[in-house]
Structures are given as structure tokens and as C-alpha cells.
Symmetry: C2
Subunit: 110 residues, 2 copies
């Protein structure tokens, strides 16, 4: 159902977690590296990573003393699928919005 998608959105619904995912976009990161880069505490970094992990958004590789976190970018695919699904029926609405916006602009005589 929509539960899965809602969980995914929930995991993304935090500025720090978004920044984390954007960092992970290019390379793997260690907890300490991320905490330092983001300017947040190590425990908070671990907690946010835990939430991303539970949401299936990252993978973790245990490497001796440290953990390397990597983005599991395929986990974002449901988001794209939903947007495609949504866009299919909103095109008509989009055109209406554009039309109304342009009418408004003409009214204002801009």
C-alpha cells in the first residue's frame, strides 16, 4: 500500500538526513566524517544513519573500527515511480494552472 512510500518519505523528511543522502551521492562516508562535515554530533549522526538504514536507503560495511555507509540509490526508485504515476493524471491540471497563471499575469497588465 502507501505505507511503504510513506515510510520512504518519512526517512527523507529531515534536513540533516537529506544532507547526508546528498553527501552519500558521490562516495561512501564514515560516521565521524559525516558528523564532522555536517557539524552535528556523532550520536545524532549514528541515529540518523540508523533511520536511513531501517528505511533501506543505505548499506553499511563494517571495516574494523569504523562503518562505511553507502547510498542504496535503487531505494529511491519507488519515489520516481510514484511521480510518474502522479504525473499521468495531473498533466491536465498542470495545463490549467499554467493557463490560470498566464491569465492572471495578463489581468495585472504586467
Amino acid at each position: 500500500m502507501e505505507e511503504r512510500l510513506a515510510s520512504l518519505f518519512h526517512a527523507l523528511a529531515d534536513p540533516n538526513r537529506l544532507r547526508m543522502i546528498e553527501l552519500l551521492r558521490k562516495q561512501e562516508w564514515t560516521v565521524g566524517m559525516m558528523a564532522n562535515q555536517l557539524g552535528i554530533s556523532q550520536p545524532q549522526t549514528s541515529k540518523h544513519l540508523r533511520i536511513l538504514y531501517d528505511a533501506g536507503l543505505v548499506t553499511v560495511t563494517i571495516d574494523a573500527n569504523r562503518r562505511r555507509y553507502a547510498l542504496k540509490s535503487q531505494a529511491l526508485k519507488p519515489l520516481d515511480a510514484w511521480r510518474t504515476y502522479m504525473a499521468r493524471e495531473t498533466e491536465r491540471l498542470d495545463r490549467l494552472e499554467t493557463f490560470l497563471a498566464e491569465s492572471q499575469r495578463e489581468e495585472n497588465g504586467s
Copy 2:
């Protein structure tokens, strides 16, 4: 910053609100109609719509005794922009994931 995007994700991070948005995809809905369709209470429907409204995802038209809610589909555009931004650098990772998945499949001798 990422605050805006996080707020958007937050508004979408609820199964009932996702169902609401999917209903609004095709047409306007009245609070009572939505509550009835979704099988949730009227107050809860109003509260969820309020959250969607605060997130800029819906517009409301007061029509005598009732309010007609409509999707403001342009509000979902930042989501697409973020995906595009993310995809730009994750392509390499995607190819790696695909490669690893296929290697795994071969190992299993499927």
C-alpha cells in the same frame, strides 16, 4: 536549504495524506467526500488537509457551506528537481549496483 524539501517530504510522509493526494490527482474533493472515500473521520480529514495546505500542496475554494480542495501539482516540482540532482551523481553507483547484482546472480548459478 534542505528545510523546504524536508517539509515537503514530511507532508507526504503519511499513508492517508498520500491517498488524499492520489485522489486529488484527478479532481477536486470536498472534505466530506474524502472522509467518506478514505474511511476516516471528518476531523482527521480536515487536519490532514490542513497539513497539506500548510505545505502548499493543495488549494482551497470556499463554496458556501463546503470547501473544495484541489491539488497544486506544481508544488511537487522540487521533488523532481531533487531527483534529477541526485541522479546526476548516482548513475555511477547504479551501474555498480547492477554489476554486483548480476555477479551475485551468476554466482548462484541461476
